[in-house]
């Protein structure tokens, strides 16, 4: 927790200062308010006291004036020795005193002697006493109203003396005095909670709620004032007036002042207000205990402190919460981060797996033990043209099974599901969605999940269509190669030869012409290069010629004893696709397939292929039903006669003679070498080749070979 503050000390300081300021402001404002209330109370109390005082004074104010008018009073002053009159006046005064509640009424003659008094019958009677040094007498005898507070010279009891001159015409004959006791007032004050006091014009306290303060002075009394007081016996024989035990502090914010004093041994603060009483020349001081103000301030301070403490606690709680929230937040973020990392790892792994699956060219298919497809990879989908949605959930028979192989497929599938699949895989022909066949190799392995439970079967399917096709193509190519290498018709060979030769010849010609130009320009180095090229191209041409010659040279023939039937069968097999394509029918009419001849198998096949080719080409313009070639053998005297007949237009009679001549051709791109080569081969075998037109159209080429027994 302290760390909360330590973390930002520079930030905490103003907060503390502000909190303190707040507390003190609260205290101050509470104090002010209470002070104002107090002040109002003081004012009210003052007003009440003033009113009370005035009432008291005014109540008796008229009394001396009225009494002075009384004829008996007037008369008594004229005849002071008249005892009867004096008795009457005394009775009157006593009556007035009882009626009005004044302390005493008495009449003084011009000399200051009391000639009648309400207390004439009491031991403390004023009658006969001289009061000429009293200030009220002095005032009244001079025609003014006298007002004086002091201790009675006779009774020693304090009172307010109101004196009025008694006039007889224009002369003042005496002074009528009423003494009012302020004791009841003082008694009330003493019982009041707060001190009230009255000071005379010299600052001496003469009436006070607090008895200790009586006859003390707010400020030191000057010697002349003290003398005056003593002379006039205002406060008996007192000559010393101590300064009040007050510590006075004047406040700016309120009128009046604060006084600190000790009453009954307890130090107290009072809010006091001085009010001058104009008619009386007194000062009324009313004080109110400041305790409440202080308490209010204290309360406000306490409340402020409490509020601040609560606020602080709130802030601390909030910060704690914030921090806990932040911690939770960071924990959550960390968790999220970790989850994210984990997810990322998983995604990576997934992506890796997916990339692996996608890159596989091998189709993958997983099935549950009942044969329901539960997984396929893109390669498998691509292989068979179905989307994963179409495949997942399928049970045998699957849509891609080849309709012709349904039985085999079902058996293979069963075997695989029962764990009897061949470990080295089995071939399976399946049907692509678009209808073409796909040849595959299927390998099946049990699918074991992470818990080791056998969940089904995983098969990898390898598309071997291309491989199979390649194999087929290779076989096909081999066959074709064999045919073109060993059995190419002489015409084709010649055409190839011409084209092959054209290349070096053209190059030769180019180099030669270039050489001429280079020679003319004197470019010796380039000329040499060109000439080298000429030599090279000549060699190339001769190589080609040599190669062809080697191919058709009967001298290199490999003679052996041959059974004629298989040779002819082989030729038929070789040519059949081509003849079928052209709508030609090849019919064999072999008298005795077992006849043996001596010869080179390849060369004899070449002759037959060439003749059959020619026959087919001769019939290209014939209607379909006439496109028939007959290959026949029959024994003749010289051996066996082999003939190839067509139903074409036949050979024009004028060409019969020259048809075997070299470079004779009826074809637009022929070289005229085919038949010539054939005849050369036949003759090399000790035979002869002839041609004849048939009676029903068409031509027959035939040759005779000697028979080997």
């Amino acid at each position: 927790m302290p760390s909360l503050f330590k973390r930002h000390p520079w930030r905490t300081l103003p907060v503390v200062a502000a909190a303190l300021a707040l507390i003190f402001a609260a205290g101050y404002f509470a104090e002010q308010r209470e002070l104002q209330a107090k002040m109002d109370a003081v004012r009210q109390a003052t007003a009440a006291h003033v009113l009370g005082l005035r009432g008291l004074v005014e109540k008796h104010d008229f009394l001396p004036h009225a009494a002075a008018r009384h004829p008996d009073v007037q008369h008594l002053l004229q005849a002071p020795r008249d005892a009867d009159l004096q008795a009457r006046v005394n009775a009157y005064f006593a009556d007035l005193q009882t009626t009005t509640g004044a302390a005493a009424l008495f009449l003084i003659d011009r000399e200051g002697l009391t000639i009648a008094s309400s207390n004439w019958n009491l031991p403390s009677s004023f009658v006969g006493e001289s009061y000429r040094q009293r200030p009220y007498f002095e005032d009244a005898i001079e025609g003014r109203r006298g007002l004086f507070f002091g201790l009675g010279l006779t009774t020693g009891q304090s009172g307010l003396f109101i004196a009025e001159p008694v006039r007889s015409g224009n002369t003042i004959t005496g002074v009528m005095v009423v003494k009012i006791s302020l004791d009841p007032l003082e008694q009330t004050w003493r019982h009041g909670a707060n001190p009230v006091l009255l000071r005379d014009s010299r600052g001496v306290v003469f009436l006070s709620g607090v008895p200790e303060w009586l006859f003390q002075s707010a400020k030191p009394v000057s010697a002349s004032d003290a003398a005056w007081i003593a002379d006039h016996g205002q406060y008996g024989t007192r000559r010393r007036f101590d300064v009040l035990p007050w510590t006075i502090r004047v406040r700016d914010d309120v009128p009046g002042f604060v006084l600190r004093t000790s009453i009954d041994g307890r130090t107290r603060d009072y809010l006091a207000l001085d009010t001058p009483l104009p008619g009386l020349d007194w000062t009324l001081t009313v004080a109110e205990d400041m305790r409440e103000v202080r308490e209010a301030r204290r309360l406000a301070l306490a409340l402020g402190t409490l509020a601040v403490a609560l606020l602080l606690l709130g802030v601390l709680y909030w910060r704690l919460r914030e921090r806990r929230y932040a911690e939770q937040q960071s924990a959550r973020v960390e968790l999220e981060h970790r989850v994210e990392e984990r997810t990322h790892d998983l995604q990576q792994a997934h992506a890796f797996r997916k990339a692996m699956e996608d890159s596989l060219l091998v189709g993958m298919r997983a099935r549950d033990p009942e044969g329901k497809i539960i997984y396929v990879n893109p390669a498998f989908c691509a292989m068979i043209g179905y989307s994963p949605d179409e495949l997942l959930g399928c049970r045998p028979p699957y849509p891609y099974w080849h309709p012709d192989d349904l039985e085999k497929q079902a058996k293979d599938s069963d075997d695989a599901l029962n764990g009897r699949a061949a470990p080295h895989g089995f071939e399976s022909r399946i049907r692509h969605k678009d209808g073409h066949d796909v040849l595959t190799m299927v390998y099946t392995a049990p699918l074991i999940d992470a818990d080791g439970v056998h969940r089904g079967w995983m098969s990898s399917i390898v598309d071997i269509t291309a491989q199979k096709q390649a194999e087929a193509r290779q076989r096909d190519q081999e066959l074709r190669l064999q045919r073109s290498a060993r059995l190419a018709s002489a015409g084709e060979m010649a055409s190839t030869l011409a084209h092959e030769l054209n290349q070096p010849l053209m190059a030769l010609s180019n180099f030669a012409l270039a050489s001429r130009a280079l020679a003319a320009r004197g470019e010796a180095a380039m000329l040499t290069g060109a000439l080298d090229d000429i030599v090279e191209q000549s060699r190339r041409a001769s190589e080609i010629v040599k190669r062809v010659r080697a191919m058709i040279n009967p001298q290199r023939a490999d003679y052996a004893t041959l059974v004629l039937g298989p040779v002819i069968d082989h030729v038929e097999a070789l040519l059949k696709p081509e003849l079928n394509g052209q709508g030609m029918l090849l019919r064999l009419m072999l008298e005795d397939p077992a006849i043996k001849v001596r010869g080179d198998k390849v060369l004899l096949e070449q002759v037959l292929v060439n003749l059959i080719h020619n026959a087919a080409q001769a019939m290209l313009d014939q209607p379909r039903h006439r496109r028939r070639i007959v290959l026949a053998t029959c024994r003749v005297a010289q051996g066996v006669r082999i003939s190839v007949s067509d139903q074409g237009p036949g050979v024009p009679p004028e060409q019969l003679e020259q048809i075997f001549a070299p470079f004779f051709t009826t074809k637009p791109d022929g070289l005229g070498l085919g038949l010539n080569i054939c005849r050369t081969i036949v003759e090399a075998h000790g035979g002869a080749m002839t041609v004849a037109n048939d009676a029903d159209g068409g031509a027959t080429f035939s040759f005779i070979l000697p028979i080997v027994q």
């Binding site: 084209h499 030769l508 012409l513 380039m526 090279e536 191209q537 190339r540």
Partner: protein, 199 residues
């Protein structure tokens, strides 16, 4: 016109023949670019630029005819001279009928040298025509094509998108004649017929 750059291409899959052609044409003062297959040629050369092409008919891979078909489909102004071997002559004739400039039967080098200048001149003419055509605004080209078809101004004004007045067609026409250096409609028609690949 004589100074305009012209490229001569040789496409033949026979290395020796290709080299010999290069040397021959070089000795005649002609710069040549050679390719060993139609694919390589189509890959490297922008067919929309004029030039002269000596193209072997029979090649492994893409045949000469297929290359020519591709050029024709691209409306290429290239002038094509075929080299044909024995037996390919009908094919070569067919190619010439469908727009090839000429053909030469192997191994007649002299014939090639004889026919080449005309082919080169044609290529230059095509290049020049192409440049003139480029100077026309798209609007003028459209008008020129319509004029070449023999349409009257009024009809052209109606057919054009957006249509305009016959008078502005007249202005276009004058601009076209000036830019293509033609004197009249007939000449323009012939000019356009001679260069049908211009768009």
């Amino acid at each position: 016109m004589k100074d305009s750059p012209l490229t001569l291409y040789v496409v033949d899959d026979d290395e020796a023949l290709r080299r010999s052609l290069l040397l021959l044409l070089f000795s005649q003062g002609l710069a040549v670019q050679a390719f060993d297959s139609g694919e390589a040629f189509l890959e490297a050369v922008d067919p929309s630029q004029p030039g002269c092409l000596i193209l072997d008919l029979r090649m492994g891979g893409m045949s000469g005819l297929a290359v020519f078909e591709r050029l024709r489909a691209a409306h290429s102004p290239l002038v094509t001279v075929f080299l044909s071997g024995h037996g390919d002559i009908p094919m070569a004739l067919e190619a010439v009928r469908s727009g090839a400039w000429d053909w030469v039967a192997k191994p007649d080098t002299q014939q090639l040298l004889d026919k080449l200048p005309a082919a080169i001149a044609e290529a230059r003419a095509r290049g020049h025509a192409g440049r003139l055509w480029e100077e026309l605004t798209p609007r003028e080209r459209e008008v020129a094509r319509l004029v070449g078809l023999g349409q009257p101004n009024k009809e052209i004004a109606r057919v054009l998108v957006p249509p305009c007045g016959p008078r502005s067609v007249e202005t276009h026409r004058a601009n076209i004649f000036h830019k293509l250096q033609c004197a009249n409609d007939n000449e323009l028609g012939r000019w356009l017929a001679a260069y049908p690949w211009l768009r």
